[in-house]
Symmetry: C2
Subunit: 740 residues, 2 copies
């Protein structure tokens, strides 16, 4: 898209007012920041990205330098800041980047950061949230142009500050914002001698809709009823003709233009397909929006990698289309909060939090990004329940243990909100380590301690998690809950499967001192490695290629733990039983009021009420598990060619009892598991990270009492297990134990 | 109800088989156990009831004595045991109370307890749950008589083991069970020289329905369509004639018999009234059932107080009818668990848990019972997340701080389940302090420490919480969530009000070191005391007498903090504005995207989006709070005759920020609050308990870090504040600080 002449003129003028870029040519330049699939690189050297959120529009200018020094003392090498549209365009068309006592002085801030030797992650919105009024948008936008608001399926706005990302008028206004902010940022990128190393488009995309329980159905943006509208175009591309769509949806539409949106909720096949298509379409518009913003940045001369932050561990499934659209010079990261207000499910970094962080970081790794937590709690939006320094440190270390390669404390420090722009308060410091007045709080010591740990093990930046088994996941599954609301006629929905992956399989594995990593069932990457077993957590729907891939893997000697069902359809819910056919097996739901199972000699294993008995056993299969009351066969083992093996367990569970861990261990043991770590205490989770001949074992205790564990491990550079002795892990602590 | 001759004969025969009661006449008798509204009494002396759940059908008989001694060493004076119907009547009509390797030897167990000097709380069901198959009912019951199953509003069973409490066939079978178990229990009551001090009817009543998201709509039990059926009778009694009902419900029924049940969910006035009537009716059947069971026990000669355990803090609102029906020799208690499986909202005794416990214990006190926790975690149903000894101790002490006068560790010890009766496992010990094999775990030390604390301060049994303000509650409000599912045309539903009471007002008060107690707005008891202010958390519906009572209180010099709305109807949702009329005020909902308020000089107070502006100020009222952006008046103060005062705050909130506490303190300060305790740290909650000239201050830290606080208090026996100095409360600890 070309910038029109008039806008260019405006931009040039504005640039001239603020600074003459040429005058800066003698600035000392900062080493370039790059990344690969393993880690961030500064001047080519592997390095952690240790950032702190630091808002020029809040922190008093007189204290910028001192607080930046404090961040560096805590091991920081970057700061992140939102650049709020609403602040800089308070009246439509009037852009201000100076005045108001310094709170608008973006450029001086960027220059101060450069002088301090801190990289900057610039986050110019349009949305920034940040507890600002209108979530950082200008007040005039939704007030004067209510037509840009996102709509629910009934065509009504559902939240006062939720806009439709691809509404033409919103894009027009947003582009003008980027035309003014972009060139300023461009002048300060590292390549131009400035401090900006990364630039983020928007914030926690899709959140402004899904948090309010809707997708966006704004008719003008989505183009319902218009032949060239986005939605009819999408459907036409997907189905070719309306007959194809009607056949898939079980509907009788006369044309693509005749289709109006519906809320998800159906549980019949046609309704589910329709809801899934709607979701895929919506997420496509999110990707289009993100790519548009990134394109504008490029046009404005911003050459840094583009980044984005998922609003939470489970949200990144919403960005598959976006990651494709943004291509190579893009990094998706995630926000990992554990403490909001008292209504949050947990207010401390519990194991449940750590498990979600583990999956999140693994997903980012699989996407090919250095796993980065763009918002890690550097405070809390609520004073109460309080953020506790030792909790925060445990959170940082647990993330490090599970593969975090970069992080950004949200916030590192705070200050007064711009006048009448604070959504929650006049003084905003998020209970940060450095308070609004610049005062130092206990949380800062935790940040400092974490920084020290990173500095003393710089090789960790390149380290990888040692693993003894892999869990194959379909990243798309994590968004099934947005369309697959109830199980319907299926045995096990993808939403249920995703929950079982987290609360069942992975939790049991970690409690059993198994060391899983994730692998992407959509790719071929994992199939060549047949040394470690692969766990496949199926649902009733598994994409065709994935079923085929599992079959090939088994057929060429791979070892698979398959559970809890045999897929019956492909990802579009069309019959597809490649995997079941290959195995020659059939299952059906096993209703039992006393869901207790014995598997591989482990007795009293509780399902969460979902069990499947095998009604056709594969030829040559050996039964290895049955219902304790009815003796129905629930688990079996089958040899496949070339030394392969599959072990099928027909049950799902919520990890709650020691037996769950024992079962997972026994099943993987049958498939040749050679454990990387052995830890005697199921309440202590471990992660062994290795780079070359160096290893560090993280022992994770997220409970309120010290725990003892006898630990040994077998890093890949060692030909024998290394005893680490009996260790005491203090309460709510992640211990780092040197190996060798 | 009379026992028929044939049944009597059976009972007598059975008694003869087992024991001859006369032979026991030389047994040393145990002191009688009684209670009053303050505490339990043993031989007339105030005493804590310190019980441990101890199942004769699980714990190996050979180890009974030793484990009972362990309980006594831990300060225990009682044990509780279920007496599972399913165990003792495995085949219909065949009652067994001996054999099977001792697991049926109820009487020997009762005798052993007596010899050990431990009282027994007998819990003969019919339901016991206890992770037994069929929740402790006989397998044959629901298998052979499926008609006794509870039905949902569509007339279908909704859970395999949920029966209809008042189904005639179920009652017939249950009565036969009581006819066999009752006489055995009767022989062993304290009055007969035995150990049974208390007898519980059923278990966590109503849970077996509401946990599965339904009331019971079994047509035969409820009598839909039959003139003399329970439901038509109830409605006739409530409304007199069908016209009255139709007018209330906004329906057009031709007769009471024509009315079929509906699921709650309506939000129109008529639908809400219908749903509320349905709930009240259902809870009446629960009460009828409990009273029937209690009556049977009396008929069988069981003379002990009857007890029952609410399934959790919020459930006791379901027992208002039951408490009335069971009358004087009855004690309602509650179960207080904080750790289930990983899907529980919290796995540690967080402040949210403690707040619920506080309200629960206060409610029991208001009902006139010695607040008793009939199941306090003596373990956990799940191995993981683990139950941690220090967490458990903090839980016990927090309950003590908030007024617990008796408790029962569930479970104190465990053992093998009866063959094929374990629902979850063969070996059941609930991770208890004393394991299934008799092994001693760290949790036992916590129990012992708690026992020591009780022994060293026996006067605490009679102590009361010192308070400086009262919060008037309508206990019925806590069940509004069962019928008032969405707000509808009302400003603020009773369900919302109940949530606001917990997460807003009370949490803010405790964080602000205000010392509230609850008072019952339905009674006159609180109105005479005008020394301390009363907080009234209203909803759109407030019962007529309550409105009148608040008016009288104000009119005679009482001081009231009223929030967040002025009631518009009575409890039956009929227009009733007694309170608003007295005040001469009118409010309306104040929609504001930036819900920030200044009240009494406290700035930046966040509502949770619900604010009401005053559109008619009372004559002579002084505005004391307004919206920070629009300046709309949200709060005002009015003097009433005889030195009374009312302060109205038109907003609700979730306690999250220090400002919430400051506001509550400022508002109560205006109403003459004289603080009992002053604590400098808002994260430390306190409870000052006094008996005569003795006081103990509990300082509660339920976070993962030590907290410091400067504390002083003013017990009622002192004419000045007593400085307790700067105290450090260790992480996850409730400290007991001696006063004076």
């Amino acid at each position: 898209m070309a910038i029109n002449r008039r806008d260019f003129a405006k931009t040039a003028m504005l640039g001239a007012i603020i600074h003459d870029a040429a005058a800066w040519s003698d600035r000392p330049t900062m080493a370039p920041v790059s990344f690969d699939r393993h880690c961030w690189r500064i001047g080519g050297q592997a390095a952690f990205l240790v950032s702190g959120e630091f808002h020029y529009f809040r922190v008093p200018k007189a204290d910028w330098k001192r607080r930046m020094s404090l961040l560096k003392e805590a091991g920081g090498n970057a700061i992140a800041t939102y650049v709020p549209w609403g602040l800089h365009e308070p009246t439509e068309g009037q852009f201000v980047f100076s005045g108001q006592g310094g709170i608008l002085d973006l450029e001086e801030f960027l220059e101060t950061a450069r002088e301090a030797g801190l990289y900057v992650i610039a986050r110019p919105g349009p949305y920034v949230y940040s507890e600002l009024n209108y979530d950082g948008l200008p007040a005039w936008l939704t007030q004067n142009y209510p037509q840009v608001l996102a709509h629910d399926a009934d065509g009504k706005p559902f939240h006062a500050t939720s806009v439709s990302y691809v509404h033409p008028l919103f894009l027009e206004k947003a582009r003008r914002w980027y035309e003014h902010a972009g060139p300023i940022l461009a002048r300060h990128t590292v390549s131009k001698g400035g401090a900006i190393a990364l630039t983020q488009v928007d914030n926690e995309l899709s959140g402004i809709h899904v948090w309010y329980d809707s997708l966006d159905y704004n008719a003008e943006a989505m183009g319902y009823g218009r032949a060239e509208g986005r939605y009819p175009r999408y459907l036409r591309q997907r189905y070719g003709d309306i007959a194809g769509l009607n056949s898939a949806w079980n509907t009788k539409f006369v044309s693509f233009e005749a289709i109006q949106p519906v809320r998800p909720g159906a549980s019949d096949v046609g309704g589910l397909r329709r809801a899934k298509d709607n979701l895929d379409f919506y997420l496509g518009t999110v990707a289009e929006y993100a790519a548009t913003l990134a394109g504008w940045l490029r046009q404005m001369g911003v050459s840094t990698p583009i980044v984005h932050n998922a609003g939470g561990p489970s949200m990144k499934a919403n960005y598959l289309e976006m990651c494709r659209a943004l291509g190579a010079n893009f990094v998706l990261g995630s926000d990992h909060y554990y403490n909001g207000d008292q209504t949050w499910p947990q207010n401390a970094p519990t194991p449940q939090f750590a498990l979600n962080a583990f999956v999140s970081l693994e997903q980012l790794r699989l996407f090919g990004y250095p796993p980065t937590v763009f918002e890690i709690p550097g405070g809390s939006p609520s004073d109460w329940p309080p953020i506790v320094a030792s909790d925060a440190l445990a959170c940082y270390r647990a993330n490090l243990a599970f593969g975090m390669k970069g992080s950004n404390y949200y916030v590192f420090t705070g200050g007064p909100n711009p006048p009448r722009m604070g959504q929650t308060t006049d003084i905003y410091d998020f209970c940060a380590g450095i308070g609004a007045q610049g005062e130092i709080r206990p949380l800062y010591a935790a940040e400092k301690e974490f920084g020290k740990a990173l500095e003393s093990n710089p090789w960790l930046a390149e380290a990888e998690r040692e693993f003894d088994c892999r869990v194959a996941v379909d990243p798309e599954q994590a968004r099934a809950n947005l369309y697959w609301k109830s199980r319907g006629e299926f045995e096990f929905s993808s939403a249920e499967s995703d929950e079982f992956l987290h609360k069942g399989v992975l939790t049991s594995a970690l409690c059993a001192s198994v060391s899983p990593v994730l692998c992407d069932i959509r790719s071929d990457e994992w199939t060549a490695d047949r040394r470690t077993p692969v766990v496949v957590v199926a649902s009733s729907a598994m994409r065709r290629e994935a079923q085929q891939r599992v079959v090939s893997f088994l057929h060429s000697g791979g070892k698979v733990l398959l559970l809890p069902v045999l897929p019956a359809t492909d990802e579009n819910l069309r019959p597809c039983t490649i995997l079941a056919d290959y195995l020659g097996a059939a299952i059906e739901h096993h209703k039992n009021e006393v869901p207790r199972t014995t598997i591989l000699g482990v007795e009293n294993i509780l399902s969460n009420g979902r069990q499947w008995r095998t009604v056709r056993m594969p030829q040559g299969a050996e039964a290895v598990g049955s219902d304790e009351f009815t003796q129905a066969t629930l688990a079996w083992r089958l040899a496949t060619p070339a030394g392969g093996q599959v072990l099928f367990l027909g049950m799902s569970w919520i990890h709650a009892m020691r037996q769950h861990g024992r079962m997972v261990r026994a099943a993987l043991g049958r498939l040749g598991l050679e454990e990387k770590v052995s830890c005697s205490n199921p309440n202590v989770w471990t992660s062994l990270r290795t780079s070359g001949p160096k290893s560090l074992l993280f022992a994770i205790n997220l409970f309120n009492a010290p725990l003892e564990a006898e630990i040994q491990c077998r890093p890949s550079w060692s030909d024998h297990a290394i005893a680490l002795g009996k260790r005491t892990i203090p309460a709510m602590t992640v211990s780092e134990i040197e190996v060798g």
